[in-house]
Symmetry: D2
């Protein structure tokens, strides 16, 4: 099957003009580029001429003007998240998103609420997993980010699975019977009634809050609301391991905290 | 859309006979049960009579014989992983699986290799994300686990998206042009040629290895093979936060280590 | 120099009657015992006859009745903490104590306040580092623990460096010009005035609080008090690595949380 | 008691000329300075005139030329480690040192071996805890660091408790019957015989190794040597918590790895 991410890459196993490809040199040097006739891609590893790559098998290596070897790859979701999303806001990291997707049971066909679209990073990931029959309904109060989010999502070819609205979920959510929700706003405790109304009974919701004060307020509100049970909270620490033939070891620096992930399930109140 | 997990639960928003439901009391007391006429479910919170639950709205609460309140929920993937999978072998944990799914870019339609099926826990998760058009090809050398895995996967209604084979990937993989692979065997460095042949160029593979000796051997083999680039390794620490109105804090006990996750991409050799 | 821990072990390099020794078999089997004439020590590794060990060099091995090899060692502080302290209360773990000692700058000669003596575990560690010229002043409101603490501290031969008082530091501390303080009580924010009066200007204090609610209350109180600056908070995760010739890896289970350590320095108010 | 760290600070509770003090503004702005007549200390918080501080009580606040408030404090060990040690080499961090000190049972009076003196950071900490009757014997093969280390240690007034030698412990250690050892060299498995000879029977040793390859080699060598038992390995993760009235949360960035700490005890071989 052709992945939607490769909507610009119809040509099967060979690299063609118009394809978006990942040019890979090493862990620090990767370039997500659209190949066009005559295009030259400059890097500190030398220049790459698009015409020299087109026609090669996907997965082939090539040589730059500086005689450095690189590879031409089909981009993965993670490549778009790392290289293809313009980040105008803080985003939820893959370590947290993967766990959320799994615990929420997001699947092909799910109808999902997202609050706090920001740059559209989480929206894109949700859309990737609900396609082709599901849909993501995203709300964002800061108008200036909506265009950025839409462009980011379109770059991944996921726009037809997403509706982004300018609005505040605290004032209401238009959809009903949604299968799951991801809430990444500063004061989610104010939005519990809206979320309650929008989710189908038994549906799960994940909240993302950075601080302890927020975690406490959110838990207290969920706990006393009456419409949410099975409240759980987690934090995830991701450690990259540095790899070399003589020294394999956890990296010296790591992200120490992104936020707390809080799960709950919407039940019938009373 | 009706989720495949609710293949026994066709009746929309009301609980029906034959439905598999989650009876929830608290974080420690959850029961995944199939409701049958006349069935009585015993628990330390009292007896629940299936007939009293059937006909209720999904998400409703009920009262046990001991006058304790519970809720009837549609099970999520995580409920099946926690309560519906018979574990005959060590399994990969949700914290690791969610991250793998995201980094591998597993999606609806993917054709995925799995080596080391074991109890079928990972197989089920992969099938959940590739359905309805993708497929998981699982290999397992220990014949005694294959029936267990098949039963586990069938319980989730995911069997039509999975083929499990009795065999050792080191001796060859029958499929070609696979989109991704999850390898959970003790000596994955011996299987690199098989994996190389089975994956399409540019496809990602994730390995799961518990020990440092394995990590070193695997890295050295990947690094010198020639057909794999973009080698990355991680470990994930999941911390549950205990929640109560007077004390919110990370849990005293946690899982300190499951394994190292190693990613690579298959390229054209030479 | 003869360590105070070896107050029962005056005989230099040879094991004598009356010595407290550590009999070591493996990581799970260690016994802290006082050797007396005719004493037999039973273990699942067989019986050890004290008379057969006395006279040997410290560090020698011996053979039990079941033909298992063990070693006779001089106990270290950590052996007393693990095997020689009767734990009637929750204690602060070595991972946290070591860091506190270093950041507080506890040293031989320090005069230290401790609030929340409990079983005397922290008291013993503080006494170990302030001896022979310093002193620990410990307060405990729960009378029933004071005798236990005194016995534990005496077993390590550290009693002459410790004064334990039955009392609540919130109602006042008798000492003045103390060099440092370790506060392990449930509501330390109520004790800031007492601590302020007891510490010499510029002296550091370490608080130990398990929950986020406590951390927030403590920080807010320290921050608004006026007599404390340089407020810092930490948590420490200790991971044991399992060692075997074929598999070296972090242990599957670990302590995920003990408490937050909060440091501050007492300055002149106003 | 006057701490040795305050050897330049004999004057009790008042700030005097010649004193080394910590001028504190906030977590990021601390200055360790020796106060001399007429000295002006410049900072981005304004200028501080030494003459205006001398005569004040320790712990007092002062106002800079830019009208910013600061405090004058007696430096602690940790202030010297953070501000008073010139770092020419990688050092062992306080989180690791505190735990080592505790598990090794370093105490006033201990005679301790150190291999890999580097900048003298660990040496200073060891000296701090063994004073006034103990001694640290440090070995360093890289001649260029010895002067730096000596100067660093002298700045803390700890030089009389330390002997630093230019030499390689793999070629032998001159001391005998040492109470403990801290080994921070790249290939400690080559030095086990030297360490065995220098330590008294039953004495503990701590090794610090950054990589998994080193950890495996060291464990294998310790395990097969015959003169070391009770082999344990750990890693410590220190998380700083960011504190503010509206947001308390673990810091976004943290040190993800420094090294593995390996403990063993020297016994009689054979």
């Amino acid at each position: 099957m052709t992945s939607v991410l490769n909507h610009n890459n119809p040509g099967g196993n060979f690299v063609g003009y118009g394809n978006e490809v990942l040019l890979y040199f090493d862990r620090k040097r990767k370039f997500l580029v659209k190949l066009e006739q005559g295009k030259k891609i400059s890097s500190d590893r030398g220049t790459i001429v698009a015409d020299n790559i087109v026609g090669k098998s996907i997965g082939s290596s090539f040589i730059t003007s500086l005689n450095v070897r690189g590879w031409v790859l089909k981009p993965l979701l993670i490549d778009y998240l790392e290289k293809g999303i313009k980040r105008a806001t803080q985003v939820i990291y893959p370590k947290d998103l993967g766990f959320m997707i799994l615990l929420l049971g997001i699947e092909s066909g799910s109808r999902v609420l997202e609050a706090g679209v920001g740059s559209g990073n989480t929206t894109a990931v949700l859309a990737y997993f609900v396609k082709p029959l599901g849909h993501v309904y995203g709300y964002e109060v800061r108008k200036e980010f909506i265009e950025i989010a839409k462009n980011n999502i379109a770059r991944l070819g996921l726009d037809k699975y997403v509706t982004i609205k300018h609005g505040d979920i605290k004032e209401g959510i238009e959809e009903r019977d949604l299968d799951a929700a991801v809430i990444d706003i500063p004061d989610p405790w104010e939005a519990l009634n809206s979320i309650y109304v929008a989710l189908r009974p038994s549906a799960p919701v994940a909240f993302f809050v950075p601080s302890m004060q927020q975690l406490i307020k959110l838990y207290d509100a969920l706990n006393s609301h009456g419409g949410f049970i099975d409240i759980k909270a987690y934090e995830i620490l991701l450690r990259e391991i540095e790899l070399s033939p003589t020294s394999i070891r956890p990296a010296t620096r790591m992200i120490g905290h992104t936020g707390y992930i809080v799960f709950a399930r919407r039940v019938l109140k009373g």
